[in-house]
């Protein structure tokens, strides 16, 4: 896969024409291998890879946009079935995408291994002897000068050496080659690509990521039961979870109100937390773009919102539910949607689904909306359902959604009874004497992601290798140059210069001119001595 490899390099395409006679099993294998590692195959595979990635941007992906996939399924179940069978919702882990890049990497390895041994050989052997007829080269110069041939030969050697050539002095000439670094860097680039793939393949099994919604005053400990959701790699074990805990003290957003657009622009999100581990407790501030790196894990601030503290009382005044409930933001002014489930303590199971408006304003239609993301006029509305919450069947339920199938709506919607509406600190009665609900207090929550990703180090090192290899290989040129001295026995000498590009080298002619110039400079300085 050397793009600018030396012109005499065999890229395998010639070999096919010669290998026509009946191939045995080994021959056929070699044929396939040669095909696979040829530059043309690598090129086709590269273009296929680009093509195959396109659907990953057109169709929502389970990895990056799971909600989009759910939405797609809801909107068009039939097309969903077809596309899902084609693994289009998992493009980048699909069989077809994987086979393209795996073939590409096999092709790559099959190409760079022989090139590495070829290059090692070139690095340890001297530049080839001077060809007998330099005038046949496209880039050729000839000069006449005075001096003893032996002296001029030394000048030639010194000139080439000072210009970075590796030099071999022969009877009447000097041959040199430079720019070995080009191939070294090129190989480094390609090995670094393999490094990325290996880093991903080996590291992914050991990584984990977990999510947790944390309300002000709550503490999260880094153990499995403390996560809301958790995605471990294949080789993950509980024991790799570093023991520490994080408490959210306060979350402080800063907004700037833009008078012209009427929009609130977020300026800063800061979560003040207390980190406790074996060495004690300390305060940390978590911000977007400023994750907390602790004991090989990173903690990221990825979301925030309001968590109204909701208290539900039984008719006799007993508290049956009292806790902050995270409401998920639906727009930039933090109109938020939340769900409360009361399985025990009341006459029947209750489910409530409702909106929280930090700065509530009534629209002409009577509906509420939030006009600012700060709690200037906090209002909570709840639609109440009674019946079977389905929590007793042992099936895991999403705490953020309410399955209303086996429930009967008792407020809001078409029940003829208004939704419950509460300002901060207000308490309203539930219908049918079920009890009452109170919007007790307003807190904020943050959602944090905790990641441990051992692929980062090998991938980062490989990325450095990619950049270094790329820059060096594209801007170093590999050249051979020869200088031959032919004395005429009368103190005059003919000096011939020739240069040969090994790979793409548009500046070769200019380089040769510089070499001629450098030669005469070295020659003059030696004369002066």
């Amino acid at each position: 896969m050397e793009p600018l490899r030396p012109s005499d390099y065999d890229d395998g395409t010639e070999a096919r024409a010669i290998q026509q006679p009946a191939l045995g099993f080994v021959g056929a294998g070699r044929f396939v291998w040669r095909q696979l590692t040829s530059m043309r195959t690598a090129l086709i595979l590269l273009l296929l890879l680009a093509l195959a990635a396109i659907p990953g941007s057109l169709v929502p992906q389970r990895s990056s946009d799971p909600n989009g996939v759910v939405q797609f399924r809801r909107d068009d179940p039939e097309l969903f079935e077809v596309l899902d069978a084609l693994q289009l919702f998992d493009t980048f882990t699909s069989a077809w995408f994987s086979s393209i890049y795996l073939l590409l990497f096999i092709s790559l390895v099959g190409c760079i291994l022989p090139r590495t041994s070829h290059h090692l050989k070139a690095l340890t052997s001297p530049p080839p002897a001077t060809p007998s007829r330099l005038e046949r080269f496209e880039h050729y110069r000839v000069e006449t000068t005075h001096g003893a041939p032996e002296q001029l030969l030394r000048t030639a050697e010194e000139t080439l050496r000072s210009r970075g050539y590796r030099v071999v002095v022969q009877k009447d000439s000097v041959s040199g080659e430079r720019g070995y670094l080009r191939e070294t860097a090129n190989l480094l680039f390609h090995f670094a690509l393999v490094g990325i793939l290996l880093g991903l393949a080996l590291g992914t099994g050991f990584k984990y990521q977990g999510q947790r919604v944390l309300v002000e005053g709550q503490t999260f400990t880094n153990q499995l039961t403390s996560y809301d959701s958790f995605n471990p790699g294949r080789f993950f074990s509980d024991s790799t979870l570093e023991p520490y805990s994080l408490m959210l003290n306060t979350f402080t957003p800063t907004y700037q109100f833009d008078l012209t657009s009427g929009r609130a622009n977020p300026l800063d999100f800061a979560a003040d937390m207390t980190l406790t581990d074996g060495s004690g407790a300390r305060d940390v501030v978590l911000r977007v773009n400023q994750p907390l790196d602790h004991q090989g894990t990173s903690v990221y601030l990825l979301g925030n919102g309001f968590a109204p503290w909701i208290t539900v009382y039984a008719p006799d005044g007993d508290v049956v539910f009292s806790q902050p409930v995270a409401f998920l933001p639906q727009d930039s002014n933090l109109t938020s949607l939340g769900v409360v489930k009361i399985p025990d303590g009341l006459a029947s199971q209750l489910g409530m689904i409702g909106f929280f408006y930090p700065s509530a304003v009534a629209l002409e239609t009577g509906a509420l909306t939030s006009v600012y993301p700060e709690p200037d006029q906090p209002v909570l509305t709840l639609n109440v359902f009674r019946g079977d919450l389905g929590l007793d069947e042992g099936i895991p339920r999403n705490v953020y959604s309410l399955d209303t199938e086996s429930l009967t709506q008792v407020t809001g919607g078409e029940t003829g009874r208004d939704s419950l509406v509460m300002g901060l600190g207000e308490r309203v009665d539930l219908p049918s004497g079920l009890g009452s609900v109170e919007f007790t207090e307003l807190r904020r929550f943050v959602s944090v992601d905790v990641h441990r990703d051992p692929t980062q180090l090998p991938v980062a090192l490989s990325a450095v290798g990619i950049m270094a290899g790329l820059i060096v290989t594209l801007f170093v040129t590999r050249r051979r140059a020869w200088i031959r001295i032919t004395g005429n026995g009368k103190g005059e000498a003919r000096v011939e210069f020739a240069a040969l590009a090994r790979g793409d080298d548009p500046g070769l002619g200019k380089g040769l001119d510089e070499l001629v110039h450098a030669f005469s400079k070295v020659e003059k300085s030696t004369l002066r001595e």
């Binding site: 043309r40 941007s57 773009n289 400023q290 990221y300 990325a463 790329l470």
Partner: protein, 305 residues
């Protein structure tokens, strides 16, 4: 207090006016080249006037064009700086600003290459493209200056986005040369023997080599953009690579140009086919900037539209 956002917009429109004049001059220069070409040089034969790498003096209209272009660029630069002062940050934090800075860099790279090689025949294309792009971003993508949201408050905004626009600038020039290379190659194959203007261009192999060198620089910048973006993504979103739509297209573009570099070393692909890959690659860059920003939903939704 001075309204820098307003002044910046005035600057953008002024720059567009001067770009228009430069465009006219460069077009005139092309026409002059056409009429100054006396006879048909046999196709395929070397054209001594242009094949000898650019020792020809500049024509008067090219000189006027370049002078106007420098003037327009300075106004454009002031407009970008004004926008930066207005926002108190780098002027490439949303789609309009990215367009403003990218076009500025395209012209800067073009002016820079003029010091290196006589690419005057690209002047009409560059001014035309920049004029069109500036018009589109100002009319369609303009947004008021807003403070940076927390997700963009990072030093990587300065590095990642700037290098992306620098890469875009090199790809734009490379694609132009590749397109002319294709036209000239057809001319050399006698398909367009009557298009005398083609005679005023360097040979297709010279343009191929120039296009390659520009695209390769673009490729280095693009690789860096990709890596810097991954580092930033790890800090901001908790993962360095997640196949977000913008990431997908950045990857596609990288692979296309990697393909282009390999095509140049593959028998049967060097020359015209490789040139097509470079043009498709730049097409993908434009797609990534326009359609992916506007029509696709992803994490890179900073167009502000």
């Amino acid at each position: 207090m001075m309204d820098f956002a307003y002044l910046s917009l005035v600057g953008v429109y002024s720059a567009m006016a001067v770009y228009t004049l430069a465009f006219v001059a460069f077009t005139w220069d092309l026409a002059r080249r056409y009429s100054a070409t006396p006879a048909l040089v046999p196709a395929g034969a070397a054209n001594p006037a242009t094949d000898a790498e650019s020792s020809q003096p500049w024509g008067p209209f090219q000189r006027i064009g370049v002078t106007l272009l420098v003037l327009a660029w300075v106004i454009h630069l002031l407009a970008a700086i004004g926008r930066g002062i207005a926002g108190n940050r780098v002027p490439w934090a949303n789609m309009f600003e990215f367009g403003l800075t990218s076009t500025l860099l395209i012209v800067a790279v073009f002016l820079g290459t003029l010091l290196w090689k006589d690419l005057g025949y690209l002047g009409a294309y560059i001014t035309g493209f920049v004029l069109l792009a500036l018009g589109v971003v100002t009319v369609n993508f303009y947004v008021d200056v807003t403070p940076l949201p927390p997700a963009l408050q990072s030093a990587w905004l300065v590095i990642h986005v700037f290098v992306a626009s620098l890469g875009t600038a090199f790809f734009a020039l490379g694609a132009a040369l590749s397109a002319l290379q294709l036209a000239r190659a057809r001319f050399e194959a006698r398909d367009m023997a009557k298009a005398r203007i083609m005679n005023t261009l360097p040979s297709s192999s010279i343009m191929e080599s120039l296009a390659y060198r520009l695209n390769v620089v673009g490729f280095v910048f693009w690789s860096f953009t990709l890596i810097a973006g991954a580092i930033w993504a790890e800090r901001a979103w908790g993962r360095y690579w997640g196949w977000d739509v913008k990431e997908v297209w950045t990857f596609i573009i990288w692979v296309l140009f990697a393909g282009y570099i390999h095509a140049r070393a593959t028998r049967g692909w060097r020359g015209s086919r490789a040139a097509w890959l470079a043009i498709i690659g730049f097409g993908a860059v434009l797609f990534n900037y326009t359609v992916v920003n506007i029509a696709f939903t992803g994490l890179h939704s900073y167009s502000g539209l």
